[in-house]
Amino acid sequence: MIYREAGQFKASYPADQAIFPIRQDQVALVIVILIAVFVVPVVIDDYWSNAVLLPFFVYALAAMGLNILTGYCGQVSLGTGGFMAVGAYSTYKLITSFPDLSFILVVILSGVITAGVGILFGLPSLRIKGFYLAVATLAAQFFLVWLFNKVGWFFNYNATGQITVTRMKVFGVLVTGPEATPTAKYLFCLTFVLVFALVAKNIVRGRIGRSWMAIRDMDIAAELIGIRPLYAKLSAFAISSFYVGMAGSLFFAVYLGAVEPTEAFGIEQSFLVLFMVIIGGLGTILGSFLGSAFMALMPILLKNGLVDGLQVEVVTAKHIEIIVMGTLIVVFLIVEPHGLARLWQIMKEKLRLWPFPY
C-alpha cells in the first residue's frame, strides 16, 4: 500500500536509468544518509564508533571490492586478507615516508598500489579458472603476509614487526590515533564508503560492469561478442584490489591503529570477507553492506544481548555465539541461497503487492 510505484512515470532516459527508480526508495535512502551524516555523529560514542560502526564500514568496503571480483566477474579470490595487508602497509610506508601527504590521498594511493599488486596476481586468471584460480589467489594471501612479516623495510625495521599509525589530520581534524574523536573517525570512513559505493554501483551498471558479467556468465560467449578477457579480468582484479586496499588502509589506520600481519591479515580475514559476500549476495552492492553487517555486527549484538541482557556467563555466551552464528549462516543459505540482498528483493516485491497479492 505504502510501497507502490503507481503513478510514477518516467519521462526521460536518465529518470528511467536512475539507481533507485522508485520514489519511496529514494526518500528512504535520503533519510538514511541524512541520519548517518547529521544525527549519528552527534550521538555517537567511543564504543559505537570504534567497536561497531568502523568495522562495519571497513568490511563493507572490502566486501564491495571482493564482490566486484567474485560476484560480478566470477573470479573466486581467497587473497582478500593479503590485499588488505598491501593497503595497510602502503599506508604505513606512505605516512612514515611522506608525513605531509594528505591522508585522503594516502588512502587512495594505498588503493592504487594494491590495484597494481592485484593485477599482478590476477594474471594467472587468464589461464586458470574456478577452484584452480582460488588456489592461485590463496598463494597471494600466504605470500603477501609472509613478505610483510619477513622483510624489515615494510615495518621500518622495528623490533616486533608491528606497524603503528601516526596522528594524521584531514582538514585540520585528527582522524587517526587515540586522540581522534569517534565522530571524526566515523565521518571519515562514512564518506569513503558512501562515495565509493556510488562509484562501484555506477561501474557495475556501465560498460565495464557488463563486460565483467558477460565473462562471469560464459566467458567463451563473451569473447565471441567481442569482450577481451584480458581487459575485463584484469580490470576486475584492479578495481577490486583498489577497494580492498582502501579497506585495508582504513582497517589499519583508522579502525585498529596498530596491526601485525599474521593476525590481522591472515587467511581468516579472507574467509570472513568471502562469507560476507556470499551471505550478503553475490553480484550486488547492497549485499556487501548486508553481509558486512551480518558477519561483523551480529556477533557483537549476540554477545551484548546474552551477557548484558540475559546475564549469561561470558564464556557460555561465546560458545552460544559460535553455535548461533554457524546455524544462522546455514539457515540463511538454505532459505535464500542468493543471499540477504535477494531476500530484500523478494520482500520488496511482496510489499508492492501488499495487501492484495495475486
Partner: protein, 442 residues
Amino acid sequence: MKSISLNLRTAVLAVVASLLAFSASGYELVIPTLDYRTGPYAPNGIPIANGFTDYLRLLNARDGGINGVPIKHISCETGYNTKVGLECYEKVKNTPPSGALVIQPLSTGITYQLIPKAPVDEVPIFSMGYGRTSAANGKVFPWIFNFPATYWSQATVLIKYIGDREGGIANLKGKKIALVYHNSAYGKEPIRTLEKMSEKFGYELVLLPVDHPGQEQKATWLQIRRQRPDWVLMWGWGVMNQVAVKEAASIRFPMDHFIGVWWSGSENDVMPAGEKAHGYLSGTFHAPGGDFPVHDDIRKYVYDKGKGTGDRDRIGEVLYNRGLVAAMWTTEAIRNAMKIHGTKEVRGKHVRDGFESLDIDEQRLTELGLPNFTYPVKITCDNHEGPAKVAIQQWDAHKKEWKLITGFMDSMRDVVDPLIAADSAAYAKENGITPRTCVSAL
C-alpha cells in the same frame, strides 16, 4: 581571626568529606579482565583467568573488597583476538561507577593496540611480563606498567643460566642456540636482545618461527634435528607449547636443554607429552604450588562457598598462580592509590599513581599470605619494569609438579637498558612524545 577561618574551613571540609563518604556507600572498584576461555589459546587463558578471578572473589568475600570498597569484576571474552579485544576494551572502559581502573590486555597484540589509548582514556595498563618491553621506560610510557620483568630481561637471564650450565659465560662461544618462537609481535620480542648477546658472547643464534596457532611444527623440529643446536629457547603460547614439547620429545631432544619463556611453562604445556617431558625448563617470576596461605584462604572463602571459578584441584598450577599474582599486584596498586590520594573513590588516574609508587616488600607479601612467593617489587617514575628478576623452574614428570631450581636471578642490565632506551626513544620520536622528567631519578 585566622584560626576561626581555619576552623571554619576544616568544618566545611569535614561536612564535605562526610557527604562524600555517604555517597561512597555505593561505590565499587571496577576491575575488568580480557580473558580467553575459547580458541587455541584457551588452555593457557583459562587458568590465568581463574587465578585472577578467584583472588578478587577472595578479597570481596574475606575483606569486603579493598579497604572495604567492593570490587566489581567484569570479564570480557577475547579469544586472544585483537579486534575482539579492542571491542572489549571500549565496552568496559567506562563501566560505572569508577570506570575501568586498570586494564590487563593479556595479549601482546591487544597491548600494542591499547598503549596509545591509555593516556587519552586515563586507564593505566598493567601488562605483567608481556607487551611492549620498552614500556619499562616510565618517562616515555607513564601509563604502562610491565613489571616484574620483561622479555628482554628474561632473555638475558636465560642466556646467563645457559652460561652457568656450560660452566661459565665464556663457554658460550661457538655454541648454537635456537629460538622457536610464535611468529607474531610477542614471539619476536626477544630476538633483538638475543642477537645483541650473540655478538657479545659469541654463540650462534638460529631463528625458527612457528605460525599461529602453532599446531604444525614438524618442519621446525626437523630443522632442529638437522642443525643440532646445543640449547633450544621457546617463546610460545597456547597450543603451540604442548606441540613443541611433544615434538621435542619425539626427536629425543634433551629436555633439560630446552627452556621455555614464562608463558611456556605450565602444567598444560608438559602434561600431553607425559613422562617424556621430564626435565623441561622454563622461566618464571613466582613460585609454583598451591600450599601458600592465600591458597588456603581461597579454598576456605571461595571454593567452600561454591563460588570458585575453576576446578578445586587445579588451584596452584603455574598459570593459576600467574593470574593470582597479577591480581595481587593490581589490588595492591589500588590500595596504594587510596592511600596516597586519601580517597576510597579512586579512578584510573589515581591507580596510575598507585602503580608508580608501588612497593611490595617481603613483609607485605607475608601479610598477604604469599611468603616467598615472588620477590619484592618497587616501582619508580622512570622504571616501570621493577626488579627484573627471573628464576628457572623444572618439570618433574614423575611427581607431576614444577619446581624452582634456581633463585631469582638478576638480568644483564648492561644489555637490556641501552636497548630499552633506544626503542623507547624511537617510539617517543615517532609519536611526538616529550619524555617527562622524573624527580625521583634526580
